[in-house]
Amino acid sequence: MIEIQNLSRYFGQIKAVDDISFTVENGSITGFLGPNGAGKTTTMRMMVGYLQPSGGSIMLDQQSIYKDPILTSTKIGYLPEHNPLYDEMYTLEILKYIGDLRKMGKTRFKERLDFVVQSCGLKAVLTQKVATLSKGYRQRVGLAMAILHDPEVLILDEPTSGLDPNQILDIRELIRNLGKEKIVLLSSHIMQEVQALCDRVLIINKGKIIVDDEIENLGKYLTDYQTLNLELEGEDVDIEALLSDIQGLKVEENLQENNRHKIRLSVPGDKDLKHEIARRVTAKGWLIVSLYSQSKSLEEIFHNLTKSDGQGKPAESETDQVQDLHSDIAVLDSESDAKSTQADEPTQISLDNPPAEDQDEKEKS
């Protein structure tokens, strides 16, 4: 179990991570979501001990990870964001190097090598130079290095970036299997991935955690309305008249094909109206083909939360954002010696956050 309490990290005056707390349980996969520069990588770097936090504590199995760094690093497998590798080395050689540095014995190394080669699909490239590998294969080598020593905790910074769709499915399957007994924390800005893989999701924006919940419970962060899909067969159907007394209900769409209707309804609040609707429809003698409420996609939630100020309030007005931008520039000017790239990123959030996000989405999909 990893417990993080009041973790903060500053780059100069800029708060990259601002007083966050969360716990990650064993045998679960936690997704770490957030726009560019939200503080995902900084948090992960602190969790593996690469960066020192400015404040707060990180406990792994009730012990601070800084108490015995060597012990900590034997428990953690880490795939860094840009997946740095030694380009001049061969795939097998780099795995052997990591195995040696992790002091794995010969037999154990062989055993684990077989496993990672199998599970990451590296057989074809074992005798190739890392520099000649495609991005997808590089990513797999990085992942293989992270899981080589069978760590308790896996911290993966965008594990599937650069992979083709088939590879993504393979790697997801692998991560899912690993997540059964280990602690897996992965960051991503691909919503579908988090939705497909994770048990829990943490959404972070501007260094603060704005959502920390099970993936099924996320619906409540989008309570403005719910969507119901109704498909029915019958004659002289007038659904609006039938449901007119339900407050705020709107028929968004009504497609008719002979006597079959496909209807999409939107209702405010999250009250379950399926029974009520079904009763009324059957009372009319119409036949229900299907009736279900559409679950809200994580994408929608993510977009809603990160473009607003994080409290579920509507997005700031444009003038606010412009002012925000000016003050950010002022901070930047005074901090012109802050060379770190991380330092620059948070200022860009308010600047072009929603468009940048959209672009990312397009690129990924």
């Binding site: 001990g49 020192q52 760094p69 590798l85 990591i98 540095l101 992790r102």
Partner: protein, 240 residues
């Protein structure tokens, strides 16, 4: 296997694969060979002191070139993040790099066996004692330069900058004795302590002084420690 050795072995293997290393080696051997040929064939002297002097000078340029990438490259390519999250200590990283560079210097120096053979064949009354202590002295001084170079490489993430810094520090220790002639004697007495040339002169004459050995070992340790400290202070894990 010990992590220091693992790192040293890998660094050495990679160096032996890279073209840059071979350019450095060839240049080094050509210049030292030319110096040797001049002494032996033109001046008809069967001794290696001139050669050793030239090699010492070459160290100042070539060792920073060998070590410039050692840590700076890890930083610029991001692999330092990988290393920092492995169960190894930073001192092991630093010493691995130092040993790898020293192995490279040893490889280079092994070519000077051919000079020994030539001297043996052509020369009379060769002072083997001075040659052996001379080689020992050169190896010791190379360790000091390597340590300086690795420290310089731990400062910036740019390799060229690392080379320049390494060259500047090395040149200080090498060239300080040239300034002695214009300095008051009272000052020279203290400053000559820092001159590598001063400490090396005993070795060249065939005299093995423990103080000189300790001096080079101390310089090596100091800069290795500085490199480690510098890495540690750059936000790595505490007490690694």
């Amino acid at each position: 296997m010990n992590a220091t050795w693992t790192i040293a072995k890998k660094e050495y293997q990679l160096a032996m694969r890279s073209v840059t290393s071979y350019i450095i080696y060839v240049l080094f051997l050509v210049i030292s060979g030319a110096t040797f040929a001049t002494t032996v064939f033109k001046l008809n002297v069967a001794e290696l002191r001139n050669l050793f002097g030239a090699i010492h000078m070459l160290y100042v340029f070539f060792i920073p070139a060998i070590t410039m990438g050692s840590i700076a490259k890890e930083r610029s390519s991001g692999t330092i993040e990988l290393i920092a999250t492995l169960p190894i200590r930073l001192s092991q990283v630093v010493w691995g790099k130092i040993i790898a560079a020293f192995l490279q210097v040893l490889t280079l120096m092994s070519f000077s066996v051919i000079y020994l053979v030539i001297i043996e064949v052509l020369g009379q009354n060769v002072d083997y004692g001075a040659i052996i202590t001379g080689i020992l002295g050169l190896l010791l001084v190379s360790l000091a330069y390597i340590s300086i170079g690795v420290f310089a490489s731990s400062l910036p993430s740019n390799q060229v900058l690392a080379f320049v810094i390494g060259l500047a520090i090395s040149a200080f220790f090498y060239a300080i004795h040239f300034v002695f002639v214009i300095m008051p004697l009272s000052l020279v007495r203290y400053l000559q302590f820092f001159s590598f040339e001063y400490h090396l002169s005993g070795f060249m004459k065939g005299v093995l002084d423990l103080r000189d050995v300790l001096f080079f070992v101390a310089i090596c340790l100091i800069f290795a420690f500085l490199a480690e400290f510098n890495l540690q202070s750059k936000n790595m894990m505490q007490e690694r």
